[in-house]
């Protein structure tokens, strides 16, 4: 049996989504052979101390994995800092890892898919990351994969060597900023990307993911995405709201419940325009506009 990649889980304040995330992860076929490493971010101020303590009590009760290591921070790192810093730390002892946040539920074959993909593309330097999330795309075989140039942050995996070469300071942004052509190209994977990068560089946003994508764009690297999504984000319905709001979520996708563990990985890496068009649909201006209207009409 091949060595399984560890799962790194980031948590902060939300206990309910965290429970669901851990529950679905432990239902995975490979869970009992997987090492789980949890980073629990610390409180920002005095009001958050109780909620953080509740999270940490729960974390200690987690079972169903090969091992569970919990790292607790006494102060608040912020998600972006936490991911950059702690993933780097984990990569000192593992060649690859699977990263989850506390609001991502996974299908039972999520770990199977990620580990197989990590193994298959291990030596292919054109692949930067493996994505667990996929928007619903029709016309693909259920066990197929496709390639994009936009990494997803909802359940993903990466290798230590790729991770270490990322420029988190975005030093190429100065040239990018005034170059329309580059901006347009960057937006090819979703019309929100240049805007997000701009907000990031102006300090209005703190996202590691957009910097990850910018690195991917600058170096022309690809992500492997499954035809049927292995993860689903449950973070959109906040604290009190239940699943109802989710029906108006444009990122809603069909979670793989086929239990299939055999995938057809492709070794020639190309971007297929037809698929990319469907892939970026959720981030297109039109869909964003429609969903704004729907949520305005039905949620208020």
């Amino acid at each position: 049996m091949i060595n399984l990649a560890p799962v790194i889980l980031f948590t902060y304040l939300k206990i309910d989504p965290l429970r669901k995330t851990v529950q679905s992860l432990s239902d995975n076929f490979l869970a009992t052979d997987t090492n789980l490493i949890i980073f629990s971010d610390g409180p920002k101020n005095i009001n958050e101390v109780d909620r953080i303590n509740e999270i940490r009590t729960y974390l200690k009760s987690i079972e169903g994995f090969n091992s569970v290591i919990i790292h607790e921070f006494s102060y608040n790192l912020g998600l972006s800092n936490s991911i950059i810093q702690n993933v780097t730390e984990v990569f000192k002892s593992y060649p690859s890892a699977i990263i989850l946040e506390d609001d991502i539920i996974t299908s039972k074959n999520f770990l199977s898919f990620m580990n197989q993909a990590l193994n298959f593309y291990q030596n292919d330097s054109k692949i930067l990351s493996i994505s667990g999330y996929s928007p619903s795309i029709k016309g693909l075989e259920t066990n197929e994969v496709y390639f994009t140039q936009r990494s997803s942050s909802w359940g993903w995996a990466c290798w230590a060597d790729r991770w270490s070469s990322i420029d988190w300071g975005c030093s190429q942004y100065e040239d990018f900023k005034y170059n329309r052509k580059l901006k347009k190209q960057f937006n090819r994977m979703g019309s929100d990307m240049s805007y997000m990068l701009k907000k990031q560089m102006q300090g209005y946003l703190d996202s590691w993911a957009i910097r990850f994508c910018f690195h991917q764009f600058n170096n022309n690297l690809f992500s492997v995405v499954p035809a049927i999504s292995k993860t689903s984000n449950i973070g959109f319905n906040d604290i009190n709201a239940t699943n109802t709001i989710n029906q108006f979520n444009r990122f809603k996708t069909i979670l793989d419940n086929s239990n299939n563990e055999i995938y057809n990985f492709k070794s020639n890496i190309t971007l297929e325009y037809k698929i990319i068009k469907k892939f970026r649909r959720n981030n297109s201006l039109f869909v964003r506009f429609i969903f704004k209207i729907i949520s305005f009409l039905f949620e208020s």
Partner: protein, 302 residues
């Protein structure tokens, strides 16, 4: 406890502000664990000698810090070279340091902020100095505890020794700058007063030290990280006559503090256009004119 950076304090002849400055530094919980190095400039004449002697006897009796080193100048260096030489001396002996002048009042989070940022931005080559003084209002949705600007600040700042070693303190650029109008204009991008200041300094009309650091920063395209909350106020504007009663309290309202457990520092260089606008506006010609006009109105009403 991690290593705290030492504090360099520059003083000359004003005992009243120095006392307030020291008291405010002591309100920081980190003070008792920090080294304090005082650079006391010497007197120029008999009258100043008395004042300087008072300062030096006050310094010798002081406590409240991990250690206090006093560096008494034996002749008058002037405000510029007292500080410039002080920075050089600090650079030789310490890895990083915090600089305070005797007319400042700092908030109780001052040392915490400085030490945290000194550790965080140590390896950022482009971050030349840190500033705890800030007059820009935090824009909505800007959630960081610092912002970056391309201008140094001399009221409550900190830096790293290795970043100071190449600074051209002696202004060897004199001829080049005075004949280069384009450079003068671009130097004014982060404040319309800068070229004039540098020009005056080059012609020895004024004795400013910070403009030299500013010019170095400009040439290298380096940045200063400013605290989003103002942790420093200047107490030096009220002269000898207008002493205690107005002094401390009037400016106290401007001191702010952080209430979170730790600081949110961006781990990349972000430049916010809104902040830049207000940053420059404060020193702009229009704003100076408005201030002047308001003062004039105020004066007439009296």
């Amino acid at each position: 406890m991690y290593n705290l950076s030492p504090i360099a304090l520059f003083c000359f002849k004003r005992l009243d502000t120095l006392k307030i400055c020291i008291e405010s530094l002591k309100t920081c919980p980190e003070a008792i664990h920090s080294e304090l190095i005082i650079f006391s400039d010497a007197a120029r004449n008999e009258e100043e000698l008395l004042k300087v002697n008072l300062i030096r006897s006050y310094i010798n009796e002081m406590d409240g810090f991990k250690s206090i080193k006093v560096n008494c100048r034996n002749h008058n260096f002037g405000v510029d070279y007292n500080i410039i030489n002080g920075i050089k001396e600090m650079s030789e002996n310490y890895e990083s340091f915090i600089v305070v002048e005797d007319d400042l009042i700092v908030s109780s989070k001052f040392l915490k902020f400085m030490n945290a940022a000194l550790i965080f931005y140590k390896s950022f080559e482009r971050v030349l100095t840190l500033s705890a003084f800030n007059y820009v209002k935090q824009p909505k949705n800007y959630n960081w505890d610092i912002y970056f600007a391309k201008r140094t600040n001399s009221w409550g700042w900190a830096t790293w020794s290795n970043k100071m070693k190449d600074v051209d303190w002696d202004l060897s650029i004199k001829e080049n700058f005075l004949n280069n109008t384009i450079e003068m204009r671009t130097f004014n991008e982060w404040g319309s007063d800068r070229s004039r200041m540098l020009k005056k300094t080059l012609l020895s009309e004024i004795r400013a030290w910070d403009i030299r650091l500013d010019y170095y920063q400009f040439k290298k395209n380096y940045l200063t990280a400013y605290s989003i909350k103002n942790l420093v106020i200047n107490n030096g504007f009220n002269n000898v006559d207008a002493s205690n009663t107005t002094g401390y309290n009037r400016f106290k309202v401007n001191l702010e503090n952080f209430d979170s457990f730790n600081f949110r520092f961006p781990n990349l260089i972000v430049l916010n256009p809104t902040i830049k606008f207000f940053f420059i506006y404060k020193n702009s010609m229009i704003n100076r004119m408005i201030t002047f006009f308001l003062k004039f109105l105020n004066y007439r009403n009296k």
